[in-house]
């Protein structure tokens, strides 16, 4: 798949990966062995019939290809772009043994983009409208998937979203150059065409409580409120000006379009030398955003080695191509400020790898006396998120566990409250878009079972 040239792309927010041409897609599809017991499908969290849709592409039946995908996946344009295929379908592809798996993600994206370009919505479902009323809280990947699947089963689904735009982390978190917001909008439009109703600017827990919503005739609720509470390091200087959580930086830039300031009213104040703390996809996104906002030097500061980084290999590669410097085995100790309370540097200490910890990753330990000052005027803290407390605080009857995550039955996503289900990062902690979608799908199935058993359908 072609990509924008690194020198060029760091000057714009347009999509980096350009998608497959028709010829490329046909050629790639023709390589597929169309395995009977497809290992790729078995590894897909939403169980797409991968060999069948690839065969449809090969046969130039693009209409069928997208239909097959949409039997299982409501957000193909998103998944084709941001799924970690290397750990899932492509990782499982039999051809991966020879090091050349089918580029399934790119083919999925090709089919989704083809639909957007060439067809009015090709996938139509006969909708029943007599279904019970169900609420989905949060319109991120888990919520959208649960809503879409329930709508396909005939339920009347209302999705409540706290922000002014649907998509959750897909619109506030992932940058335009990795996932154009127009794609998210189109996927949401598709769900609306299935009969899903979206209520923006509605914060469950504030605008109305869970209990009040049940009182309005809703029969079941899915909670997909995400991991919207940024973690900080708790080191001195973290409240200095130009220290941002990755959430703040990305929300300003992605959701509020600060990269188009002053045409858009939301500002962002980034200096010339940026240190991004963390090694996940969010850290890579933050670093690449800063580069595009005009920073001259951008560092990734990570306490372990590159091998332990949770970011996708592809994203690490993209970041390096664009000139991001990697300071691995480096731990920030404090952020230094000037007289006006702005960042002027960051004191770090070098680390070395020790024994593996409970997560299996090798623990890093400080090297005594190796402190140094990293010159920086901006610091982005990208060290993870915890579940957002607004809804949880207003819903004390809901059982939560470690770090405020909602406790669920792993198979059905059911919470301790009858008729209430939960999924995505609100239950699992930070995970991938597709993992959240998988949980939304399981919950939809369980909600359908529950309502049918209770004869509430």
């Amino acid at each position: 798949m072609k990509k924008q040239n690194p020198k060029q792309r760091i000057k714009n927010f347009n999509e980096v990966a350009l998608g497959m041409s028709l010829e490329e897609a046909l050629k790639e599809a023709s390589r597929c062995l169309v395995c009977k017991n497809a290992r790729c499908s078995a590894k897909c969290p939403v169980e797409i019939d991968i060999p069948r849709f690839i065969k449809a592409i090969k046969d130039k039946a693009f209409n069928d290809a997208i239909k097959i995908i949409k039997e299982k996946n409501n957000l193909p344009g998103v998944c084709g772009r941001v799924c970690p295929q290397e750990d899932q379908c492509e990782g499982a592809c039999i051809l991966n043994k020879k090091g050349s798996p089918i580029n399934i993600g790119a083919l999925e994206r090709f089919a989704a983009d083809w639909e957007l370009k060439n067809a009015s919505r090709v996938t139509r479902y006969a909708l029943r409208t007599e279904g019970a009323k169900v609420i989905v809280i949060g319109s991120g990947p888990a919520g959208l998937t649960c809503a879409g699947n329930l709508a396909k089963l005939g339920y009347k689904v209302t999705v409540f979203e706290a922000l002014h735009a649907e998509g959750g982390v897909l619109v506030y978190g992932i940058p335009e150059f990795r996932l154009p917001k127009d794609i998210v909008k189109k996927e949401v439009d598709y769900l609306e065409s299935l009969g899903v109703e979206f209520r923006k600017n509605f914060i469950v827990g504030k605008t109305a409580t869970l209990k009040e919503l049940f009182g309005q005739g809703y029969r079941a609720i899915f909670i997909g409120t995400g991991a919207g509470l940024p973690n900080f390091m708790n080191i001195p200087g973290e409240n200095l000006n130009r220290v941002y959580s990755s959430n703040e930086l990305l929300t300003r830039v992605n959701l509020m379009k600060a990269y188009l300031f002053p045409e858009y009213d939301t500002p962002v104040n980034i200096g010339k030398k940026v240190a991004v703390i963390g090694g996940g996809n969010t850290a890579m996104d933050s670093a690449r955003v800063c580069l595009r906002l005009g920073a001259e030097k951008v560092y990734i500061v990570y306490r372990r080695s590159e091998k332990e980084m949770p970011a996708r290999e592809e994203e690490i590669k993209n970041a390096k191509e664009e000139g991001i410097k990697f300071l691995t085995l480096t731990l920030p100790k404090r952020i230094l400020g000037d007289d006006n309370y702005f960042v002027k540097g960051m004191e770090c200490i070098k680390m070395e790898l020790g024994e593996p910890d409970s997560s299996g990753r090798r623990r890093s330990v400080p090297v005594p006396g190796s402190e140094f000052i990293l010159e920086a005027d901006t610091v982005i803290v990208a060290v993870g998120q915890s579940p957002n407390p607004v809804f949880l605080n207003a819903t004390p009857e809901l059982k939560t566990g470690k770090w405020g995550r909602i406790e669920i039955d792993q198979e059905t996503q059911a919470t301790n409250i009858k008729g209430v289900y939960a999924g995505g990062d609100a239950t699992a902690g930070e995970d991938t878009v597709i993992a959240a979608m998988g949980s939304g799908k399981r919950a939809a199935k369980a909600i359908d079972n529950y309502l049918k058993t209770k004869k509430l359908f």
């Binding site: 506030y172 600017n201 409240n239 959430n247 009213d265």
Partner: protein
């Protein structure tokens, strides 16, 4: 879409807007705020709820930057694209005894629902409001109705006593009347002056902070502020905090993060910046 019912100038550079927002109105408590966005290009800004009816809320704002200037240009009958809330914790209202409510600048409008709630809970209310001059003294009639005593201060002495709200508080404390609780809302330095004074007097003091916000729901941490040595998020942990524990110096610095950008945006739009 949220319909604007009225948008009137109540003092130089200060406006009062009534909006149709039934869901927010139903839940609104004293001290809470909404996030608003004017249109597709707009930023999200927090505004304290200065009053509400069954279906509507009242907000008051001073034209200080791009968004508030644009807001002032909106007419009754037009719409705001987004209004969400009520956000933040509502004021803890119970019978304390004598409560002294202090407001400065546009904070006076925000003081009104809080004073009213304290009054309705059976407290004796002393209100002190301060502004630069007579024209900027707002919400005077409303506040009179819900208070037992009211003191007005102006920087230039054109209304009430010449001086600051802290001068009036100082005199009040010197007289030795019992004050059980002080509530202050207004410019950071005013809240600091009040908190410093009540700290030495040992009077519990609540302040309502006006930090920079983006989402208003705990998601971004833009509003973080040191309170009692710990970092708090004003949007979800506040906006009210113990005034004796707030790091006001940090608050002032953090409020200035986007000053240059704001200046630039105002300049290219031909907006003169009003001094806060």
């Amino acid at each position: 879409m949220f319909k604007i019912l009225t948008n009137e100038k109540i003092a130089p550079a200060i406006y009062k807007m009534e909006l149709e927002a039934p869901f927010v109105a139903k839940k609104a408590g004293a001290g809470q705020f909404v996030m608003i966005r004017i249109d597709e290009n707009g930023e999200r800004i927090p505004l304290t709820i200065a009053g509400h009816n069954d279906e509507t809320i009242v907000i008051a704002y001073q034209t200080v930057g791009v968004t508030t200037h644009r807001l002032a240009g909106r007419k009754a009958g037009e719409y705001l694209l987004d209004v969400v809330g009520p956000l933040g914790h509502a004021t803890e209202v119970k019978e304390f005894g004598t409560v002294c409510c202090i407001g400065g600048g546009v904070g006076i409008a925000e003081l009104y629902p809080v004073t009213k709630a304290y009054s309705e809970a059976g407290n004796r209310l002393i209100v002190i409001i301060g502004a630069r001059n007579k024209e900027l003294v707002i919400f005077q009639d409303e506040l009179r109705k819900v208070s037992d005593e009211i003191f007005i201060t102006t920087d230039d002495g054109t209304a009430g006593e010449k001086g600051f709200v802290s001068d009036a508080l100082k005199r009040l404390m010197a007289k030795g009347g019992k004050i059980d609780l002080v509530y202050a809302v207004g410019p950071a330095l005013m809240m600091k002056a009040v908190s410093d004074m009540t700290k030495s007097g040992g009077i519990k003091t609540i302040v309502s902070l006006n930090t920079v916000l983006v989402d208003g729901t705990g998601m971004c941490g833009s509003c973080r502020i040191e309170v009692g040595g710990k970092t708090k998020f004003a949007c979800v942990d506040g906006p009210e905090f113990d005034g004796h524990k707030v790091n006001f110096k940090e608050l002032v610095f953090r409020q200035g993060l986007f000053k240059e950008q704001e200046k630039h945006a105002c300049k290219i739009r031909g907006i003169g910046i009003t001094k806060g």
